[in-house]
């Protein structure tokens, strides 16, 4: 069958003949992609996320607003000509601030999620494959980290050593590998009894090859679902940090900081300093959650329509 990835026929269960139609055999991943693309909310989430990536990273090339030098003549201007979203108490342009803050949020979100997923997957895979004492010790360490109030530690360390995109990513990553580790361990525990793993072992694969070539690729589904939720959590965490006043320092801005700055003037009715940035946080986090939910559904074979 000469069906290419781009021209898959649409799923139509209702008109399928009795006993099912014999179609081209498709890989699990391609089915998952099709399932994902048919989920309208997931596509919406992906579009929102893509919009914010472009907005934050490409936007500044097209929109040159001032967010670096105080301009005390133009403070607290309402949205209007020259300042589509108004200015704040320093005379900074709100739209430019939003773009700048978006860079920090997305960078920390994706970077810390990447750290969490790589470290968590390795930890879980080693734990699940080794079993016995090693497994018990590694999983107790996960339990220990899960019992630590994560935001408190992040705050304490950020206050002492200062917050930057890199330090916050490392810090948030250091506390978010726990759930991926547990998920991957669970996956490895079921995978390692399967025949293809025994076959690989008989063929002479070492433990590290087993993990890298056979176990992790098959656990990829649970990992990719978890990444999206990790990104959302990390963005919420740095927003909280910024709101409490311990976030990024000038010239980097973060959305939480903008919001806490706007709070001071909320009684004056300067809504443009509060609602646009709040909407940005909610939209990005919601987009990640939408994508995550849809990925979970589309990778879950039991829920898949064939």
């Amino acid at each position: 069958m000469a069906t290419t990835a781009g021209s898959l026929p649409p799923l139509d269960i209702t008109r399928a003949p009795e006993g099912g139609e014999v179609g081209p055999i498709q890989s699990g991943w391609r089915l998952a992609v099709r399932e994902f693309a048919q989920n309208k909310l997931a596509v919406l989430g992906l579009a929102i996320l893509l919009f914010f990536v472009l907005f934050s990273f490409i936007g500044p090339y097209f929109y040159h607003g001032n967010y670096l030098t105080s301009n005390l003549i133009d403070t607290n201007l309402p949205p209007g000509a020259g300042h589509p979203l108004g200015t704040n108490n320093q005379g900074y342009d709100e739209l430019a601030l939003l773009m700048n803050g978006g860079q920090a949020a997305l960078e920390v979100g994706f970077f810390s999620a990447a750290i969490a997923i790589v470290w968590g997957a390795l930890w879980g895979a080693v734990s699940g494959l080794a079993g016995g004492m090693v497994d018990a010790v590694l999983m107790r360490i996960v339990d220990v980290f899960l019992s630590i109030p994560f935001l408190f530690i992040v705050l304490i360390v950020a206050v002492r050593y200062g917050a930057s995109v890199l330090s916050l990513s490392l810090l948030i990553g250091a506390f978010s590998w726990l759930v991926p580790a547990r998920l991957v361990r669970g996956e490895v525990l079921t995978l390692k009894t399967r025949d293809f793993v025994s076959a690989a072992r008989v063929a002479g694969s070492g433990q590290s090859r087993l993990i890298a070539r056979h176990l992790l690729p098959n656990a990829f589904g649970v990992m990719i679902v978890n990444v999206t939720f990790q990104v959302a959590d990390a963005i919420l965490a740095i927003a909280a940090l910024g709101f409490l006043g311990f976030g990024l320092h000038w010239p980097n801005q973060d959305w939480g900081d903008l919001l806490s700055n706007g709070v001071t003037y909320i009684q004056d009715g300067y809504w443009w300093q509060v609602y646009p940035v709040g909407a940005c946080i909610v939209l990005v986090v919601m987009a990640c959650n939408l994508i995550g939910d849809a990925l979970r559904d589309s990778l879950d074979v039991r829920l898949r329509r064939r």
Partner: protein
């Protein structure tokens, strides 16, 4: 079952020891000694060394840890060098306020989320279900402080229904009676918790609805109301027990931000002030207390589940 509970308690103690070593070690590495806070930033090295020696801060890390734990067990949480008061007395002044805020919102969210989730599962894919799901999804994506801000802006500044600051009273009774000022902080935390609990409750109730015993109950002619009350509600609520235990770190974080936003003088605001002051012993003690609460929460949830669910008890 006794054996399981004993083993579970044993694991919790091991985790507790691990957590306390980690937190103490980390904070000790970050702030080795409060000498400069006590003596002033310009104290010379000889003075600092003498002070460290006198107060035991020159001893090895592990000795200091053991001494700290020994003090903890005797109820001594350390000394706040910034506020010149013992940490235990600082906590004693404010803990009831935090307990009231967190407790009230936790009870409210459970009481609302469980029926809401059941309603959504039973009336699946109706307008009511879609509305509740969408609202929960939006609130779930909201930072605590943004939700609080919207509520303040609408209900305090525009409508003047409630106060924009939490009650500043010293007595717990007058705080509880001060509905005008306490509504917004409690509602903020409650909405946030409902958003996550109702999602779990909905999917848990949907799982239970697909079980055979529900079909049996309906087939034997039990009125739908009794099917829902006796069979669905009880079984679907079981996972909530675990969820509440697991959500304690999030509740503590939410508490910290809500208290800061509404200027409510509880443990969260105390921690926030200590962050700005670098009040080492307060930070250490509250982080440890948070960890202990989390561990106890998980332990109690597991034991409660064993008692409530005979399938687990027998296994």
């Amino acid at each position: 079952m006794i054996g399981y509970i004993l083993r579970r308690i044993g694991t919790s103690i091991v985790i507790l020891i691990g957590v306390s070593i980690f937190i103490f070690g980390l904070l000790h590495a970050i702030y080795p000694s409060p000498a400069l806070d006590v003596l002033g930033a310009r104290a010379n090295t000889a003075l600092v060394n003498a002070w460290n020696k006198q107060n035991g801060f020159d001893q090895p890390w592990i000795v200091q840890y053991l001494r700290y734990v020994g003090n903890l067990l005797r109820g001594n949480l350390g000394w706040s060098y910034k506020l010149n008061q013992s940490v235990a007395s600082l906590f004693a002044e404010v803990w009831q306020r935090s307990a009231y805020l967190s407790g009230a919102s936790l009870v409210l969210s459970v009481v609302i989320a469980i029926p809401l989730g059941v309603y959504q599962a039973v009336r699946r894919n109706t307008i009511g279900d879609y509305t509740a799901t969408s609202l929960a999804f939006i609130v779930y994506a909201m930072p605590v402080f943004f939700l609080g801000l919207i509520l303040i802006n609408v209900f305090a500044l525009d409508l003047h229904w409630f106060g924009f600051e939490a009650s500043q009273s010293n007595s717990l009774i007058s705080i509880i009676l001060d509905v005008h000022d306490m509504t917004l902080p409690i509602v903020t935390l409650t909405l946030l918790t409902i958003a996550s609990y109702s999602r779990y409750m909905r999917s848990s109730a949907m799982d239970v609805l697909a079980q055979d015993y529900i079909r049996v109950a309906r087939a034997k002619g039990l009125p739908e109301r009794l099917v829902l009350m006796r069979h669905l509600l009880r079984n679907a609520s079981l996972p909530m027990v675990t969820l509440i235990g697991l959500s304690i770190p999030y509740l503590l974080a939410g508490n910290l931000i809500t208290e800061t936003l509404f200027n409510y003088r509880g443990l969260g605001l105390l921690f926030y002030t200590a962050l700005g002051n670098v009040d080492y012993n307060v930070l250490l003690a509250y982080t440890l207390i948070g960890a202990v609460l989390t561990i106890i929460g998980n332990l109690v949830a597991d034991i409660a589940l064993t008692v409530a669910d005979p399938r687990i008890r027998l296994a």
